[in-house]
């Protein structure tokens, strides 16, 4: 989607607190799930965010890292993952549900096309 619409819309990847860190409140349950520790410093969180972007094939998208107070994740109720489309006026145009169940790339694409008048 970034490749298709990157010339017409901006994309930002915002890295949040780990949803299922091995030492977190909700450790991974599925066998074979990635083993990641919850970063305890912003430097650790930033390094993990960069690894996340690289290994998720999202490195082409500008990366923002939520602060250790999780301000962005809370303000957007975005954990564990979520999509938003922000209009040129700085207002929310569209949002998905919370992931993984609410993650809605098709809805995002439709919202982008509507916003761009396509």
């Amino acid at each position: 989607m970034h490749q298709n619409y990157g010339a017409l819309a901006e994309f930002r990847l915002i890295y949040l607190r780990e949803a299922h860190a091995v030492d977190g409140d909700s450790p991974p349950r599925a066998a074979g799930a990635p083993c990641v520790e919850d970063p305890v410093t912003l430097e650790e969180r930033t390094a993990l965010a960069q690894r996340f972007a690289h290994e998720s094939d999202l490195a082409a998208i500008p990366l923002l890292v939520d602060g250790m107070d999780d301000a962005a994740g809370i303000a957007y109720a975005a954990a564990p993952d979520r999509l938003y489309l922000i209009g040129a006026a700085g207002r929310v145009l569209w949002k998905s549900g919370k992931g993984p169940a609410g993650f809605d790339p098709a809805g995002l694409e439709a919202a982008i096309r509507t916003a761009l008048g396509l």
């Binding site: 619409y5 799930a33 083993c35 290994e55 303000a75 109720a77 207002r91 929310v92 993984p100």
Partner: protein, 225 residues
């Protein structure tokens, strides 16, 4: 979905088990146990990982059975916190302060024994419970036994104010003397809406140049796992 994508694309980063991951990193003397001294990420994280509470991290902490027991313990903890926040507040606002709870207990302590009896709890609840909770009689019948199970350390069928204060402190993870709804659990940060901003709302700030002024901006929130 982001995490799923990662798992599919990056099998080399997936450790076989949580125990393998942790032991490779922390079991310095390779004795099959990770001690407090070997673990370097703090006592709170150690306590979360030490699911059987034996003071060391071992493979037994990471079995499916241990995970289920931890999940059940967390569920009971959330339920007890909800009970405190809905039954002991003075002002019908869900936030509950420790001092506020103790004032409520004192106000309903009719025999002045610094403990809450079931009769006193019923009197207190009849004021504070919301209508929907009053009519939920089956669930309501379990509230007092659940509180006893969670807090009655000396098993005398009374909840001493000190026992309830200790229960409050166990729920108050950030030790700020307040219990707040989960969506505001991170101290000092409040979401304008519990489910985030709605279409038409101003987007909460994300720092300079977080979005473009001349075209739409897609925000993808996520983490590794």
């Amino acid at each position: 979905m982001l995490a799923l994508l990662l798992v599919l694309q990056s099998p080399a980063t997936v450790a076989p088990t949580t125990w393998d991951f942790l032991s490779a990193k922390y079991d310095a003397d390779a004795d099959g146990r990770i001690s407090h001294a070997e673990y370097t990420r703090g006592v709170e994280a150690f306590a979360r990982l030490d699911r059987d509470g034996d003071g060391a991290l071992t493979p037994a902490d990471f079995t499916a059975q241990a995970a289920r027991a931890q999940g059940e313990s967390q569920r009971r903890g959330r339920e007890v916190q909800r009970l405190l926040m809905t039954r002991f507040q003075e002002d019908r606002v869900p936030d509950l302060g420790r001092d506020e709870m103790l004032r409520r207990l004192a106000a309903f302590d009719r025999d002045e024994d610094a403990a809450l009896s079931e009769a006193e709890f019923r009197a207190l609840t009849s004021w504070s419970a919301r209508p929907a909770e009053k009519t939920a009689t089956a669930a309501e019948a379990n509230v007092w036994p659940n509180l006893l199970r969670a807090a009655d350390a000396d098993a005398n069928a009374l909840l001493a104010h000190a026992e309830l204060a200790a229960l409050f402190d166990r729920c108050d993870a950030d030790r700020d003397g307040m219990l707040v709804p989960p969506f505001r659990a991170r101290r000092g940060v409040e979401s304008v809406r519990p489910d985030g901003p709605e279409p038409g709302d101003p987007a909460p700030p994300l720092g300079e140049a977080a979005w473009a002024v001349d075209r739409p901006t897609v925000l993808l929130f996520g983490s590794f796992t």
